[in-house]
Symmetry: C2
Subunit: 361 residues, 2 copies
Amino acid sequence: MDVRGERLRRVRLSFLPRAEAFLITSPENRRYLSGFSAEDVSLTESAGALLLTRKEAFLLTDPRYQEEAKVGQPFFEPRIYQKGLTAELKELLPLLGVKVLLVEPRYVSLSFCQALRRKLPWLEIKEAPPIVERLRERKDEAEVKLLKTSLVIAEKIMLEVSRQLRPGVSEKELCAQIIALSYRWAEGPSFPPIVASGPNAAKPHAEPTARKLRKGEPLLIDMGVKYRGYCSDITRTFCVGEPDERFVKIYRLVLAAKEAAEKKLAAGVPAREVDLAARAIFRKEGLERHFWHALGHGVGLAIHEAPALSYRSRKRLKSGHVVTVEPGLYFPDWGGVRLEDMVLVGEEGLLRLNTLGFLEL
Amino acid sequence: MDVRGERLRRVRLSFLPRAEAFLITSPENRRYLSGFSAEDVSLTESAGALLLTRKEAFLLTDPRYQEEAKVGQPFFEPRIYQKGLTAELKELLPLLGVKVLLVEPRYVSLSFCQALRRKLPWLEIKEAPPIVERLRERKDEAEVKLLKTSLVIAEKIMLEVSRQLRPGVSEKELCAQIIALSYRWAEGPSFPPIVASGPNAAKPHAEPTARKLRKGEPLLIDMGVKYRGYCSDITRTFCVGEPDERFVKIYRLVLAAKEAAEKKLAAGVPAREVDLAARAIFRKEGLERHFWHALGHGVGLAIHEAPALSYRSRKRLKSGHVVTVEPGLYFPDWGGVRLEDMVLVGEEGLLRLNTLGFLEL
């Protein structure tokens, strides 16, 4: 059976006990089920939605995406609306005999719900659990291949940019180059690249500035691309010129934490234990409080998705999970080091998806 | 009085009769009032919100944006939350004595509202009219200056790219160059650039493809950048090599429609009449149905904002409106021509913000 048909079957199994129809407005869920690749223009300009019932599946969109919508066939019948999604639902839901509609609560606005209520006062709108998100957690072979390709492109860009590192080059220039190459070699960045030099490398959300690279300072680059919708995510930290003792010590510690975490990583292991394995390495050196974010996150059609590799997580890892492993140590007066790879969780352990190595120190 | 203080005063005048507090989650409204420039990571990852009461004004955000949040002072007191916005509101709203909270219905998700209801069952959540959007419609002098700078950068990119036009160059390559320059010279594109050659130029929402430019075909480029948050938007249509009679005729017609519309444009004029003035030119040639979108739209912190220059609009233009004027003619078998400038509406007529001209045919 086609993978799309199988995904659809499993979504129906989950939602049909709850409602007669399920409206899917998350762009990633929409793409996962239908292949429809259009991206929402903005928070308030959606490129469309999927509507599922027991028998039917529609891809609802506006005339701009008419051509693209055909990609959903044969599973999804395209329906092009002229007057907006709620007007279309007002016509369609009564025809389909829908009395209870499941919606994705994080992906519908209050104004959308109110408009629907005004148009169809008898309709019961119910919040869906993360049905499609749960399916998306475990990647199949074809998805792993796409993620790998996305990562190969990101690594190629990382390599290319690492050749330009010299004192005087600004964070912004490097960032512009990363973005340009992301569009040239892929569909664009999977998130706004972080290019942070010196003390900026200690900021958890560093926006690239006009600051120029200086000798002996750390330079942290965190970036990724989208390839056929699939996101890559990689971080490397460099040193312009000769690294000093401090840099070497911190870099090695972060690498050791990464290796400790990866040793833990396998199907069946609680996600929190993996995070704690990395944290333990830092604790031994009294540096635990300088690692101030979670160890990693799932990655797929969304740059951040389940499962989280966090000490707060209560989930166990499963084969088919693809997660980032990205420990870091940060010192506001000096900078920071973060090293990030993407790995596939298997029954026996992990498969590293990266091929790019680390500094030899 | 500082412009921020005055904006805040006017927002309070509008919302205080409706509720004790107003939560602002639209990224553009947030920036307009506070200067906070962080952008939302995705539909479900907000960079923060503003909370206004009669006396207080807070900028609520998470630790990533701690530094950036200071920009709101002295009008906005930064409050950094660790556990998310709804948890922060659960603490803050009772302290402030808020019983009725106004929210922006297009910028809060159903899950946000439900979480707030669970945490504060006694709170009445009310939908706000577009209070800040209405203020944003009329630009002050400083805003016009920023829009002009944004447009100057976009025109510079348009010129630069127009020098690369020759048979064999692909739409994608040109698009990647536009994006790279947008990040180099500004904060990035204001929307995904359209680079559409030959028949693709007739598609209302053309995504750049690997298609290569051919001699004698139209090439439509629609792009813009963000400069200190302000969006520019410009379209030019080129011809690779010698334009034929058909191209010349269509180009001149579109230019004539643009001029007819601009002659109409002044404060007090109904927006629909401006659209209809352009449409009348096409009607005379029997080509009205080949102009299949509205004539233009307001532009500012958002790429699309009020007022719309549409035959469906019931608004009158006011001085301080900045709108695009972008008539076009499209033929699916051949391609299309669209020409777009940005203009400032004044009491006596319009001020064209562009300096870039048109093809001499």
